[in-house]
């Protein structure tokens, strides 16, 4: 019986990480599920669903020669998740402001109180070293409707944090 695992790989970015890692998994007989891979601050971070016959330790051993040679940290967890479990977001929120401490915790705290279940969050720091600019994009489910989230955005704006909200209305056709 093959199960699903979440493979996490993080380390200094260099060309070829994805190709070598996925080749090792394929050669080892793994099936790949959904993945999120991105460069963050000069590092490359991989979150990858892997389906595999053996246990976590053997999967870790399969990947280890690749991550060791590339100087990456790895971690394997058995997960209960499976494919075809998507939850559709119904709201997108963008928050931006000067890059000050606590902006994320402050904003997402307000959204959580307003009933937001975060499905995806991405953020970046732009601007310059002297004047950094923080931009965060969230997609989620408005569990209590859009109105409380609009109020939360209003409060953030009064505090000088620019925030906007867009309902996501998925077309099926």
């Amino acid at each position: 019986m093959s199960g699903w695992f979440m493979l996490t790989v993080v380390g200094e970015d260099r060309p070829g990480i994805v190709a070598r890692l996925t080749a090792a998994l394929y050669d080892g007989g793994c099936n790949l599920g959904e993945a999120s891979m991105l460069r963050l601050g000069g590092n490359f971070a991989i979150l990858l669903m892997v389906q595999w016959e053996g246990g976590a330790a053997r999967l870790a051993a399969l990947v280890e020669p690749v991550t060791r040679s590339l100087g990456l940290a790895q971690h394997v967890d058995r997960i209960e998740g499976r494919l075809h479990q998507h939850v559709e977001p119904d709201v997108g929120i963008t928050v931006s402001g000067s890059d000050r401490a606590g902006i994320v915790a402050h904003a997402v705290g307000a959204f959580a109180e307003a009933g937001l279940n975060i499905l995806n969050l991405e953020s970046g720091v732009g601007g310059s070293a002297e004047r950094p600019l923080y931009i965060m994009h969230i997609e989620g489910q408005a569990l209590e409707g859009i109105a409380p989230l609009r109020s939360a955005l209003e409060i953030l704006r009064r505090e000088g944090i620019d925030a906007s909200l867009t309902p996501i209305d998925t077309l099926i056709g």
Partner: protein, 166 residues
């Protein structure tokens, strides 16, 4: 009338360019009725295109009336539709009967003018915007062998803001 099976990606027929309708006859109207029944049987679909049931003709049905917050023309059968003008661009989330359990963000024109024929060959012309315009573009893409996954700009986020609510 009959619900026809919906073809799903990567079925090759979804990638073919559909042929124009030439005969506005009873056979056409029967096939349109099947197409509509198939759309209504699906999971809250707001449109369907003939190639999705393996019918290689330029016919789409759209019905954006379930989104009363957007201006729309209700149920429309569009034969040989052609977008003759478009304006603006906007990102929105799309899924497809032919691509189950996957959605993504796609850039579409915000407003358009469309010309088509009805089931009896009468000429039609519509100005559309917002959600309805998006549905029309999604369905007309099917007639040209294109799926929304060919146009996805981002799986999980808008690359730029859509309408901003303040």
């Amino acid at each position: 009338m009959a619900v026809r099976p919906v073809l799903t990606f990567p079925d090759e027929s979804l990638k073919r360019t559909a042929e124009p309708v030439e005969a506005f006859d009873d056979a056409l109207r029967r096939a349109v009725a099947d197409l509509e029944e198939t759309m209504r049987a699906g999971p809250a679909a707001v449109g369907i295109a003939a190639p999705q049931v393996g019918w290689g003709r330029r016919v789409v049905i759209i019905d954006a009336s379930a989104r009363p917050q957007w201006p729309n023309h209700g149920r429309l059968v569009l034969v040989n539709p052609e977008i003759v003008a478009w304006e603006g661009s906007v990102v929105g989330r799309e899924g497809c009967l032919s691509v189950p359990d996957y959605t993504g963000n796609v850039v579409r024109a915000e407003r358009l003018t469309l010309e088509a024929f009805d089931e009896r060959g009468g000429p039609l012309r519509y100005e559309m915007e917002g959600f309805e315009a998006r549905v029309a573009q999604h369905e007309i893409d099917h007639l040209n062998g294109l799926l929304f996954i060919d146009r996805v700009v981002s799986r999980r986020k808008d690359l730029f803001r859509r309408k901003v609510y303040r």
